[in-house]
Amino acid sequence: MLSEVREFIAAPVPGRFGELALRVFRFQFERNEPYRRFCEQHGRTPQQVDGWTQIPAVPVSAFRHAELVCSGLPTGSVFLTSGTTQGVERRGRHHVPDPSIYRAVALDHFRRCVLPDGLRPRFLVLAPALAEQPQSSLCQMIEWLGADLGAAAPEVFIRGGEVCAEPLRERLREIEPTGEPVLLIGVTYAFLRFIDGCRADGVRFRLPYGSRIVDTGGTKGRSRPMSRNGLLRAFWETFGVPGYAVANEYGMTEMCSQFYDDAVLNHFRGRKRDRSKLAPPWVRTRLVSARSLAPVARGERGLLRHFDLANVGSVLALQTEDVGIETGEGFEVLGRAAGAEARGCALLLESFAQ
């Protein structure tokens, strides 16, 4: 099964997605014990499922409570989710029996969405080094991207959870006159901290033409909230990188594949359209109602449900709590469906969730 998925990723045939997804589902049903019990409990076994959209989707929170991994595969890698304050205090564990698949999908879609012109920029990283957080899927991904697609070894500007602002400023000053484009990649809140510091000191950079920014993770309560447009303006003001060269990454530990804004790709192809998140060919996304989990009509908001063939070793169908809406060739992420307000006079769980 792993080799079939690997082949599909190397040479995707869109018409084969559904058939392969059903075979991956059967494989996972047979080999992933907790997932099989979940499917049986919901009356959705391979005999009862005739299309890929019907494959039972596991809530991403399930990775906190069960070892969702297929038996009989190599141990591979295990990535941990970040901590949570909701419910039972556990970190989710995503088993990736074949990291080469994870690596292949990470490189392929990044190249397609962020470096469609074949550029090999220098990577400046605003995320912890893999050595500091070896079980972070994000750190692993950035390590691979920098090593394979960068002009030199990636340079990391976060140590012990702190942004190394002065060394980064110094490095950006050195880069400015060289004319060699760079790629700044990292977590959104770290970018914001750096930008806030620069603004306070009146510091601005004009990075060489062709430079790009990839941010991920949103602010997640770790810095002041900022709209996407506000962030794009801040990137332009502080780094001199225009919005069309900025791609937000959307991904999660429980899923091997990632989504990127299509802004860079659109610019490269000379297309003018609103940015949306683009899925790789081995992923399909559907929107479902938060209340019923039934599909929503086109144009309506819904929770994102992903079907990712690259998750062949764990579970391919994932139900998220992220609210999105279909746009262009992809979707837009509108935020998490959390933070419910109390309507009555009772204390409720969500009031204490943050």
Binding site: R37, A66, G87, V88, S292, A337, A342, L347, L349, E350
Partner: protein, 428 residues
């Protein structure tokens, strides 16, 4: 179009239309000067009737909402489902609970129990979407001889207005003591004048909302922040009948569990596994039945996801082999978690049933949440010893299962005297 205001005296000079949950209502726009004039008019009210006469008039106005043929009741039933998000059947349950306790004898009894005179002008800041949250306090204030200005909540801006209308028909003189208004909270000269001009403010809302009012208006604010309730089903004592699962289900389902008297967690105490399993089964069946008879109301995406998140957690913990389980329908969830402890529910008829070996474990199970507990429901009832033990833990209200949501006028909400903020001086 209904109005979201009722003012004694002339009509307001400016009104505008505001959509509340998509329902357009006419709203009075008051400047700071208008508010000063309104407060002055309330203070200059002509009514100086006896307490008994006032209680009689308030009770008569309240009775109109219990009369199925009354046009005011029909207007409430027509408008409140869309405004509050509750089902029509729930509003029919809510009206007798809001107005039933406003009986002449009880109003008079509670309003005159203490010798201190009433303040001249009480401000009430309502909150949330539960119908008639502020009505009991307004009725007590009027019976005690105070004038009263109710600021309604966006979640339920109508019922106090209809009550004021009823009062103006029953007793036009007493009705000059009551004004009901909505404005967008937290800003404007109108609110500043209101907070400055009222003698006391009885405020409902979140900790943050009550805290913000207290910061502006100081010690004259009597705050009722968000609270929670739980219930105890004793299987460790001899019983004549199985525990009343239907009664427990009704307490959970009323107001879709959004009230501070709604039990978020049920604790079974002692008993055999079979007894507990039977109770859980009956509770689930009763909630399923209520979902048909008393349908749950609207839930937005974030509320639905909060419920789903808890259900997912327990489903996967069960799949992982933990001794927990989940029963649920479209509008209700019963979680069996036999460990002691407490966590707030995402509400909307989501109840966790936990287990204690002995009643004395309740305080430890609630832990840091104990000071936020407003009510404990109990079965069997009466159980004076257990009720006294719970009351000594600082819980303001102990009630039989099935009656948790029907407090009388003497309810010491938040542990305070029901007349706090209505009569002069500080009272515990």
């Amino acid at each position: 179009m209904e109005s979201a205001f009722h003012l004694p005296g002339p009509a307001p000079s400016r009104t505008r239309t505001v959509a509340f949950a998509g329902v357009p209502l006419s709203v009075a726009e008051l400047s700071g000067e208008d508010m000063r004039a309104l407060l002055a008019a309330l203070r200059a009210r002509p009514d100086r009737a006896s307490p008994a006469a006032r209680a009689r008039a308030v009770a008569a106005a309240a009775r109109r909402f219990l009369d199925r043929g009354d046009p005011l009741r029909r207007r409430a039933l027509a408008a409140l489902p869309a405004l509050t998000g509750f089902s029509q059947a729930m509003i029919e349950q809510a009206l007798p609970r809001a107005f039933g306790p406003l009986r002449e004898r009880d109003l008079l009894g509670v309003a005159t129990r203490r010798s201190s005179p009433a303040v001249d002008l009480v401000g009430i800041v309502s909150a949330g979407n539960l119908p008639g949250v502020a009505l009991a306090k307004a009725a007590l204030a009027l019976a005690a001889g105070a004038a009263c200005l109710v600021k309604t909540a966006s979640g339920e801006p109508l019922l106090a207005v209809l009550f004021a209308e009823a009062l103006s028909e029953v007793d036009p003189s007493l009705a000059t003591s009551l004004a009901v208004l909505w404005w967008e909270g937290g800003r404007g000269a109108c609110e500043a004048e209101f907070l400055r001009g009222a003698d006391s403010i009885i405020a409902y809302g979140s900790d943050a909302a009550v805290g913000a009012l207290r910061a502006l208006a100081g010690r004259k604010v009597v705050g009722h922040a968000h609270r929670l309730s739980v219930a105890v089903v004793r299987l460790d004592v001899p019983r004549a009948a199985p525990p009343p699962a239907e009664a427990a289900a009704l307490d959970v389902a009323l107001y879709d569990q959004l009230g501070c008297l709604s039990p978020q967690c049920l604790y079974t105490v002692g008993g055999s596994l079979a007894q507990r399993a039977a109770f859980l089964e009956q509770l689930a069946r009763a909630l399923g039945e209520l979902d048909r008879r008393l349908p749950s109301g609207a839930r937005d995406a974030s509320q639905a996801v909060a419920v789903r998140r808890l259900r997912d957690e327990y489903e996967w913990r069960a799949l992982g082999g933990e001794p927990v389980s989940l029963r649920g329908g479209a509008g209700w969830t019963v979680i069996d978690d036999p460990t002691a402890g407490f966590r707030p529910s995402p509400l909307h008829r989501t109840v966790i049933v936990r287990r204690l070996d002995a009643l004395e474990q309740l305080a430890a199970a609630l832990g840091e949440w104990l000071p936020r507990v407003e009510s404990v429901g109990m079965d069997p009832w009466p159980d004076p010893e257990a009720a006294a033990w719970i009351a000594r833990r600082g819980v303001p209200r102990v009630a039989p299962l099935g009656s948790m949501q029907s407090p009388g006028l003497d309810w010491r909400q938040g542990g305070r005297d029901p007349m706090a903020g209505i009569i002069q001086g500080e009272i515990a």
